[in-house]
C-alpha cells in the first residue's frame, strides 16, 4: 500500500469512527429526550389515577343526561376535562378584561322584571344574577327568552338532599337556551349564625356533592375558607359569590380563591348605600368625576372580584354602573378605602362578622335520620322496600283509576 492509499484508509476509518460516535451521541440525547417526554406524558395519567382514587365517582359519572341534554353545564367527562384544562390555563382576570358587571335581580318586583331586564339588556348587561328564592326567577326566564345573554347565575338552597335534584332541573329548564347557566349553592347549608344553629337539616356537603356530579361547573355562594377547603375534596368549585365592599373586604376568601383559580363574584358592592356620604369615598369619586356607586363597583373589581353584581331598577343608574372602565383607583386610594373596613355584613345586619367562620360557621356534622330497627337486610334497604311497595300501590291506583 502506498502512502496515499494508507492516508485515504485512515481518513475513511476516521470518518466512520466519528460517524459512529456522533450517531451514538445523538441516540443518547434523543433517548434522554424521549424518556423526558415520557415522564411528562405520564404525569397526567398519574394525576388521573389520583383523581380516580380521590374522587371515585369521576370514573363513574352518571351516564344519563337526558334530563338536561341541551344545557352547557352538563358535559361528557372528556369535555369536562377539556374545559377544566382550558379553565386552568385562563387566568381568572381575563374573564373581564373590560369590566361589565352582572345585573342582580334580588328585590326587584316580579311584575317589573320584564321592563327592567329589557332596559338592562339595552344598556349593555350580558350577565344576570338570580336565585330560586328571589320570587322573580320565572319572570327573568321569560324576559330572557327572546335574548341570548352570555351567562345566567342562579342559586339553589341546600335545604335538603332531595331538593337539590329538582332545583337543578328547574333552573336548567327555565334558562334552557338563554345563555350559559352557572348554578351555585346559595349558602353552606346547616350552619351557625352568631352562635345559634340556622337552617337545621340543610346538608351543604351532600348538596354540593350532588351538584358537582350533575353539572360540570358547580359553584357556591357565601362559602368561607373552611367550607371551600372541605368541598374542594369533592371537586374544586368553579366560583364563589360573596359580599365584597370596603366595609366587608373578604381578603382571606379572595386570596384563597385566587390561589386556586376559583372565580370570585361580588355581591352588594354598594354596601346598601351605607357609604353614599362617606367623605373618603366622596373625595375619591370627585377626584375621578365619578359617582360613589362607580367607585365602589370599581373597588370590588380591584379588590379581586372577577364578576361584580349590581342591582338597580333605574335606567340611568344601569348605564352609570357600566361606566367604570375609564379610570383606576390608585393604590393610595385603595388603601384609604380599605381603611373603612368594619367587617360588618350589611346583608346579615351584623357587625364584626363576616361570612365564615363568624357568620356562616363551619359545616355541621350531619346526623343520620333515625329509622326504627329493621330486619337484617338493613335499615335503609328495609325502608326502601316498604316505600317501593307504596309506590307500586300508588302507581297501580294511577293506572286503574278512570
Amino acid at each position: 500500500m502506498d502512502l496515499d492509499t494508507r492516508a485515504l484508509i485512515a481518513i475513511f476509518v476516521g470518518i466512520v469512527v466519528i460517524g459512529i460516535w456522533l450517531s451514538q451521541r445523538h441516540g443518547k440525547t434523543s433517548n434522554n429526550k424521549s424518556s423526558g417526554s415520557k415522564k411528562l406524558k405520564s404525569r397526567p395519567n398519574t394525576s388521573n389515577n389520583a383523581t380516580a382514587v380521590n374522587n371515585p365517582t369521576a370514573s363513574n359519572p352518571p351516564t344519563n343526561t337526558a334530563n338536561a341534554p341541551t344545557n352547557p353545564n352538563t358535559a361528557s367527562p372528556a369535555a369536562r376535562g377539556r374545559r377544566a384544562t382550558s379553565r386552568r390555563r385562563t387566568p381568572a382576570k381575563k374573564v373581564n378584561s373590560k369590566y361589565v358587571p352582572a345585573f342582580g335581580i334580588w328585590q326587584i318586583n316580579s311584575s317589573a322584571i320584564g321592563t327592567v331586564v329589557a332596559n338592562a339588556i339595552s344598556s349593555g348587561y350580558v350577565e344576570f344574577d338570580s336565585s330560586d328564592n328571589y320570587g322573580n326567577e320565572a319572570e327573568l326566564a321569560v324576559a330572557l327568552n327572546s335574548h341570548n345573554v352570555k351567562r345566567i347565575y342562579t342559586k339553589i338552597d341546600p335545604i335538603h338532599y332531595n331538593n337539590i335534584i329538582p332545583s337543578i332541573q328547574t333552573a336548567q329548564r327555565l334558562f334552557q337556551g338563554s345563555g350559559q347557566l352557572v348554578i351555585m349553592l346559595h349558602w353552606p347549608g346547616e350552619t351557625t349564625i352568631q352562635g345559634s344553629v340556622a337552617f337545621p337539616g340543610a346538608n351543604g356537603v351532600a348538596a354540593y356533592r350532588n351538584l358537582a356530579r350533575l353539572i360540570s361547573r358547580p359553584a357556591v355562594s357565601n362559602f368561607g375558607v373552611s367550607h371551600l377547603t372541605r368541598i374542594s375534596r369533592i371537586k374544586k368549585p368553579y366560583l364563589n359569590q360573596i359580599e365584597i365592599n370596603p366595609l366587608l373586604q373578604q381578603t382571606e376568601i379572595i386570596r384563597y380563591c385566587k390561589k386556586r383559580n376559583i372565580l370570585v363574584q361580588a355581591f352588594s358592592p354598594l354596601a346598601s348605600g351605607r357609604l353614599n356620604t362617606n367623605p373618603i369615598v366622596v373625595d375619591i369619586a370627585s377626584k375621578h368625576s365619578k359617582s360613589v356607586a362607580q367607585i365602589l363597583i370599581r373597588y370590588a373589581y380591584q379588590k379581586g372580584a372577577d364578576i361584580v353584581n349590581v342591582k338597580t331598577t333605574n335606567l340611568s343608574r344601569m348605564q352609570e354602573n357600566l361606566d367604570i372602565n375609564d379610570f383606576v383607583i390608585s393604590k393610595h386610594d385603595m388603601r384609604r378605602l380599605n381603611g373603612l373596613r368594619d367587617d360588618a355584613s350589611y346583608l346579615l345586619g351584623t357587625s364584626n362578622s363576616a361570612p365564615s367562620p363568624q357568620v356562616f360557621g363551619p359545616f355541621q356534622k350531619q346526623v343520620r335520620r333515625p329509622v326504627p330497627s329493621a330486619p337484617p337486610l338493613g335499615r335503609l334497604g328495609y325502608h326502601l322496600n316498604r316505600r317501593l311497595k307504596r309506590i307500586r300501590t300508588a302507581g297501580r291506583t294511577l293506572i286503574n283509576t278512570p
Binding site: P61, N203, V205, R209, L214, R387, L388, A394, T401
Partner: protein, 124 residues
C-alpha cells in the same frame, strides 16, 4: 283528567321524593367516613370501600334523576292511559333496583366501620 288520578299522581310524586331523601342518608355515611379517613390516615382497603360506596351512591343518584324525569313524563301523559301505564311500570322497575343497591351499600358500610374501629384502636 279526573281529580282521583291527579291525587294518585301527587301521592306518587311525594313517595318518590321520600325515597330519594332516604338515599340521602348514604351521603351522610360517606361524609362520616371521609372525616375519619382523614383523621386516622386509614389504609387503602378503606379508601377502596369508600370508593365503592361512592359509586353506589352515584348510581342511586342517577336512578333518582331518572325517576324524576319519568315522573315529569307521567305528568304530561296523564290524559293518555296507555302512555301513563308504560311510564309507571318503567318507574317501578327502575326503583326496584334501589333496595338491593342500598343493601349492598349497607354491607360496605358495615365493613368500613369494622376497619375503622380496628384502625382507631391501633392509633390510640
Amino acid at each position: 283528567m279526573t281529580i282521583a288520578r291527579e291525587r294518585a299522581f301527587e301521592e306518587l310524586r311525594n313517595l318518590v321524593g321520600e325515597y330519594s331523601a332516604e338515599l340521602g342518608n348514604i351521603h351522610i355515611v360517606i361524609d362520616d367516613y371521609e372525616r375519619n379517613v382523614e383523621k386516622f390516615h386509614v389504609n387503602d382497603k378503606i379508601h377502596k370501600k369508600v370508593a365503592q360506596l361512592e359509586a353506589i351512591s352515584g348510581l342511586l343518584l342517577q336512578e333518582v334523576l331518572d325517576a324524576n324525569q319519568l315522573l315529569d313524563d307521567i305528568e304530561s301523559s296523564l290524559d293518555d292511559h296507555g302512555a301513563t301505564k308504560i311510564k309507571v311500570n318503567q318507574l317501578i322497575r327502575l326503583l326496584a333496583e334501589g333496595p338491593n343497591r342500598v343493601a349492598g351499600a349497607e354491607a360496605l358500610e358495615h365493613e368500613i366501620q369494622k376497619y375503622l374501629e380496628k384502625d382507631i384502636k391501633n392509633n390510640d
